[in-house]
């Protein structure tokens, strides 16, 4: 153990006394700070704007004059997606997913108005994020720190002298990995802690228990990921006799596993589990609605049966004699039918998305980047699971909102001269605005557990590789 810590301390000192490392670490730190500041500013602006817009649409809703409930339903409302608190760290799909949903009858709309679609700077340059720096650039820095850790010592001749002191080569190599992690942690941890504290103090991040749990899980996940990267660097270095060879191998692995494989995996996922375009979705849904039946068509068998049941329930022979407004009943039933159709369609669409995610996750067995990316987005609340959750909450709100108005139509509007009637504007304030309930950390963790396990498997396999390889080849030769 003492040798392990001696080696670790030495490796950390070596890193900090290396000018190249100091410059590279300063650059990465500057990038991180820039990413935090830019994302925090964007995040704060978006959060304020969406909250203000949500309030505005509710005020506009409440300020409507007396109206027919179905007309009010077509006036509609909006559900704005509040940015996830940890989105300033890992924006994930945040910029590419729509920011709002239009809530209207007969129609389940998809998210619209993404930031990327509205911002030419974003579309042209993208945004740097702290997660990107940690996921992609930091491994490169770690490889630059570790490529010479064993091969360089063999080449310089210090390896033989170190081994001749009677230290287990495994302890020496493990110490090198630990020392590299220590050197990274010594400049990264204060930076991240400052960013977290700053985000909390400025209100970018709420200090709720849930957010802190998510932040702690993210910290753990990234620690395991960086352990895997360090173990890979040291393992490759221990395979080589020359530092230059180790550096070339690590750069090749970085290009392959961090750039090429993730692209191939996402391409393969979309080829193997294709999802329809938005135009195709709308076309398919229109066709499905036509097939299931149109509530405005008096000859439609489904609605003929509804009429029969409604008349029988109230003991009436004509819709005009019903104590309720049959037009509203038809609207209610029509909403139920189309909503079931939409739900079925969206379930299949989300299943296809999940299949794509599953395939990408399987590819995570070939590169730790995909695994940590899924894990990070999931806990930051910016992944597809959270988007689907928002859409489902918004859809549940839309359905309840429309059916409430249909109920007003049934009970407050008479059949005769239906369209000319109004309900009092006081009714509008009975409907509460959409409020997104963020899923708890446990929910998010259950969805990203496979990705977290994949990161853990990478770290365990590479650490085991270091131990096994070193036992056989860790001697001075």
């Amino acid at each position: 153990m003492r040798a392990l810590f001696t080696a670790a301390r030495h490796e950390a000192i070596r890193a900090f006394r290396n000018r190249t490392f100091r410059i590279a670490a300063a650059l990465v730190a500057a990038l991180l700070v820039a990413a935090f500041l830019l994302e925090a500013a964007r995040h704060t602006g978006e959060a304020r704007q969406r909250a203000a817009l949500q309030e505005l649409v509710h005020r506009q809703w409440v300020d409507q004059p007396d109206r027919h409930p179905h007309r009010a339903a077509h006036y509609g409302s909006f559900a704005f997606r509040p940015p996830s608190p940890l989105g300033f760290f890992d924006p994930g799909l945040e910029s590419f997913a729509g920011t709002s949903l239009f809530l209207e009858p007969h129609q389940r709309n998809a998210l619209s108005f993404s930031e990327a679609a509205q911002s030419s700077e974003l579309a042209r340059f993208g945004t740097p994020s702290a997660a990107f720096v940690l996921q992609v650039l930091l491994p490169l820095l770690i490889f630059c720190m570790t490529f010479a850790s064993v091969a360089g010592e063999r080449e310089a001749g210090t390896w033989a002298l170190a081994i001749s002191q009677g230290v287990d080569a495994r302890a020496l190599i493990a110490g090198k990995a630990l020392g590299t992690l220590l050197a990274v942690a010594l400049w990264l941890a204060p930076l991240l802690a400052l960013a977290l504290a700053g985000a909390m103090l400025t209100g970018v991040l709420d200090a709720s228990g849930d957010t802190l749990v998510r932040a702690a899980l993210l910290g753990g996940g990234y620690a395991v990921y960086l352990t895997a990267c360090t173990a890979l660097g040291v393992l490759v270095s221990s395979f080589h006799r020359r530092a230059q060879g180790a550096l070339l191998t690590l750069l090749g692995l970085w290009v392959a596993l961090w750039i090429v494989v993730p692209r191939l995996a996402t391409q393969a996922a979309s080829r193997l589990h294709p999802t329809p375009s938005r135009a195709q979705v709308e076309l398919d849904l229109a066709r499905a609605i036509r097939d299931v039946g149109d509530s405005h068509d008096p000859g439609n068998p489904h609605f003929q049966e509804l009429q029969r049941r409604t008349l029988a329930k109230h003991g009436a022979s004509r819709v005009e004699d019903l104590p309720v407004n049959y037009g509203g009943v038809v609207m209610r039933e029509g909403e139920k039918v189309t909503t079931a159709l939409f739900n079925d369609y969206y379930t299949r669409l989300f299943d296809a998305h999940r299949a794509q995610d599953g395939l990408a996750l399987q590819a995570g067995l070939f590169t730790p980047l995909l695994a940590i990316r899924s894990f990070s987005m999931g806990l930051a609340g910016t992944d597809a699971h959270h988007l689907v959750d928002f859409e489902q909450q918004a859809e549940a709100h839309r359905y309840a909102f429309i059916q409430h108005l249909n109920q007003l139509h049934i009970t407050r509007i008479r059949w005769h001269n239906d369209k000319a009637q109004r309900v009092d504007r006081a009714e509008w304030s009975e409907l509460s605005p959409f409020e997104h309930r963020r899923p708890p950390a446990g929910w998010a963790l259950s969805r990203v557990a496979p990705a977290g396990l994949a990161v853990l498997a990478w770290a365990a396999a590479l650490s085991l590789g270091v131990a096994l390889f070193t036992r056989r080849h860790g001697e001075a030769s």
């Binding site: 003492r2 040798a3 001696t6 080696a7 030495h10 000192i13 070596r14 006394r17 290396n18 310089a156 001749g157 210090t158 033989a160 002298l161 170190a162 081994i163 001749s164 002191q165 009677g166 230290v167 287990d168 020496l172 001697e475 001075a476 030769s477």
Partner: protein, 258 residues
């Protein structure tokens, strides 16, 4: 302290070391002579456990090197031919680092400095990065390490190559001190002057075999050279008989260049 029992090593069927029997007791300086490829460095590697023997056994004290290389190495101080230190660490830090790896007690900084200066490292260099050290200075750090960890055995591989005469003298004195401390010293060298000045016994290796062991007591450099030539000069070009002790051979007269 250092014991080899029928120690052999072959590489691809070619013997590099053939049934070496050797005993270097504590306090003795044993120098191994022989041409390149004679098996001298292989012998050191086998004592260090850097390579496994094909047969036979090597011991450092009671530690059998093959099953317990780590235990054996903890008793050894090793000075490779091209001794290298960590350039970003000072002499003191290098010494502390290697001591830490060897599980020996790491003394306070002042004590480390004292050990280094006692080994011959200039005082001003003790706290300077080792990147500016000469080979001789680097060797002194390892000799200080030998003393600090109270190594039972000191193994040196061609330690005098590339050193100026003054540095060789200082190194020899330091090696002698290690022997006097009680360390068994096994030195592989081509430097016959150094052998004459510090060796208690000399071993001559030829094609993986230890062909002669002789006492070095009182031998001059010329006598060591003669011993060496007896084994390695071609037949018919044998070394002249050794001159009587105490009479140095006359230097040849300088020849005018034409």
């Amino acid at each position: 302290m250092l014991t080899a029992n029928k120690l052999s090593k072959t590489y691809g069927g070619v013997p590099a070391l053939d049934a070496l029997d050797l005993e270097v007791p504590a306090g003795e300086v044993f120098c191994l002579l022989g041409p390149n490829g004679a098996g001298k460095t292989t012998t050191l590697s086998l004592f260090l456990g850097f390579t496994r023997p094909s047969s036979g056994a090597a011991y450092v004290g009671s530690a059998h090197v093959e099953p317990d290389p780590i235990g054996a190495r903890r008793r050894i101080a090793y000075v490779p031919e091209q001794v290298q230190l960590y350039p970003h660490l000072t002499g003191c830090e290098n010494l502390a680092y290697f001591l830490g790896l060897s599980q020996a007690r790491v003394p306070p900084s002042a004590e480390l400095s004292r050990l280094l200066t006692a080994a011959g490292l200039p005082e001003g260099a003790v706290r300077r990065p080792a990147s500016g050290y000469s080979k001789g200075m680097r060797q002194k750090v390892v000799l200080a390490l030998s003393q600090a960890k109270s190594a039972s055995a000191l193994l040196l591989d061609e330690p005098t190559s590339g050193l100026d005469p003054g540095a060789v003298r200082e190194l020899c004195a330091a090696i002698r001190r290690e022997g006097d401390r009680g360390a068994a010293v096994l030195m592989v060298t081509h430097d016959l002057g150094a052998v004459a000045s510090i060796a208690h016994r000399i071993g001559v290796m030829k094609a993986g075999r230890l062909v002669e062991i002789t006492s070095a007591a009182g031998l001059s450099e010329a006598e060591v050279l003669s011993l060496y030539r007896r084994h390695f000069d071609p037949p018919g070009d044998a070394a002249p008989p050794l001159p009587p002790r105490g009479t140095a051979p006359a230097a040849p007269a300088p020849q005018a260049l034409s």
